[in-house]
């Protein structure tokens, strides 16, 4: 799956879980600092992303995914 497609689908998940408009979920944004997403919502996003993209995102890896771009690259590398 192309990175643009991963970004688009990940943005939809973030909107559903955290109520952040998908259009605001762009690769340079920090989940915590820019999008105000807390650690528990990050877990819910990770669980849905695992189902959607067929990858594993363990909690210790999740801690390293600071920006939307980090998450897109991680998912792309594991697919």
């Amino acid at each position: 799956m192309a990175n643009e497609q991963i970004e688009k689908e990940l943005a939809e998940i973030v909107e559903e879980i955290a109520g952040v408009a998908a259009a605001d979920v762009t690769i340079d944004k920090s989940f915590v600092d820019d999008l105000d997403i807390d650690s528990l919502s990050m877990v819910e996003i990770a669980v849905q992303a695992e189902d959607k993209f067929g990858v594993k995102i363990p909690d210790d890896e999740l801690a390293n995914l600071k920006t939307v771009g980090d998450a897109v690259n991680y998912i792309a590398s594991k697919q």
């Binding site: 807390d38 650690s39 528990l40 877990v43 669980v47 909690d59």
Partner: protein, 327 residues
């Protein structure tokens, strides 16, 4: 050798039900603003993360067994029976201040049951559902006539007072029910189990302060608990749409909502009542389910004959669920 080849054994009741409920909470209310005075937190932060507005805290002289006995006596009165009609007491708890003696023998004496079979059961926050399953089977096997089942916790001894991750969550109190024989089955088979490979995600650090891997616990609870509850329905021959009231362990309001969402995705009704007792009671571990049930009966949110789905989950990790018809 006597030549005996077979022993005489008990024969119990065909089925069981909950006869009555009771609960107790200490008077001392701790608000989020109270906590913000002694640690780096805020009312908004706590409401967002765990959904708690206030919780109850034991005073220095309040004992866990006092909470348990008070809830137990109320459950016996609500059942319309005498203490002498009960012959077994199970106290589910994971916060006794000392290993010896146990809580249950003292609680039996305090509520006026002489010579009761009495034991404590530790399955942490799953303890109450484990104890209901055990009590029901004791009555069906003939080992007990009626069982007082109590969930009671006093976290004051086990939570570091300024630990912003845990002091905001855990609270004190007790809930109780009486389990007895019934013509119609009103307690379904228990769906229980454990995940000991995750034993290290909730434990007493230095054998003193409770510690949780928040994200790991949250991930497990929001994904693995609903299937346990669904299995309890399957064992009972019911469908998700049959559930009137869902009472999950009150761990965190976001976990409660996640479990309800998963059950609704499997067919549970939109008008299924979902316990949210955590908002004003905090997380009371093994006490949370019976306390929520008792509070909801008192408030008229649970009615006699309602189909209740109970599911406990917590340290161990341990989990247990069953369907109960409300008294």
């Amino acid at each position: 050798m006597t030549g005996l080849t077979s022993l005489t054994v008990n024969h119990g009741a065909r089925a069981t039900r909950i006869l009555g409920t009771g609960s107790f909470q200490p008077d001392n209310i701790v608000t989020n603003d109270d906590l913000a005075k002694i640690m780096d937190t805020s009312d908004e932060w706590i409401r967002d993360r765990v959904g708690i507005i206030e919780r109850r805290a034991a005073g220095p002289d309040d004992r866990l067994v006092d909470f348990a006995a008070s809830a137990g006596s109320k459950a016996i009165a609500d059942s319309g029976i005498e203490p002498s009609d009960i012959d077994t007491v199970i106290v589910a708890t994971c916060t006794m201040p000392n290993q010896i003696p146990n809580a249950s023998a003292r609680v039996a004496d305090m509520v006026g049951i002489k010579g009761a079979g009495a034991f404590d059961l530790n399955a942490a926050c799953a303890g109450f559902c484990y104890a209901i399953g055990t009590a029901s089977d004791l009555v069906r096997a003939g080992s007990a006539k009626r069982v007082l089942v109590v969930g009671a916790e006093r976290f004051a001894d086990w939570v570091e007072p300024t630990d912003r991750a845990n002091a905001i969550i855990f609270a004190d109190g007790a809930g109780a029910v009486v389990v007895g024989p019934s013509d119609e089955a009103a307690i379904g088979p228990v769906s229980w189990g454990s995940a000991g490979d995750l034993a290290d995600v909730i434990y007493m650090r230095e054998n003193k302060w409770i510690y949780q891997e928040g994200q790991s616990v949250f991930r497990w609870a929001t994904t693995q608990v609903a299937p346990i509850a669904l299995r309890a329905l399957e064992l009972t021959g019911l469908k998700p749409s049959d559930v009137d009231v869902l009472i999950p362990h009150q761990a965190n309001l976001r976990i409660v909502h996640a479990i309800a969402k998963k059950l609704r995705a499997e067919g549970a009704r939109d008008d299924m009542v979902v316990a949210d007792d955590i908002v004003y009671s905090g997380n009371t571990s093994s006490a949370s389910i019976p306390m929520a049930l008792d509070h909801m009966r008192t408030a008229g949110r649970v009615h006699s004959g309602d189909v209740l789905l109970l599911v406990g989950f917590g340290a161990g990790l341990s989990y247990a669920a069953q369907v109960v018809i409300s008294p």
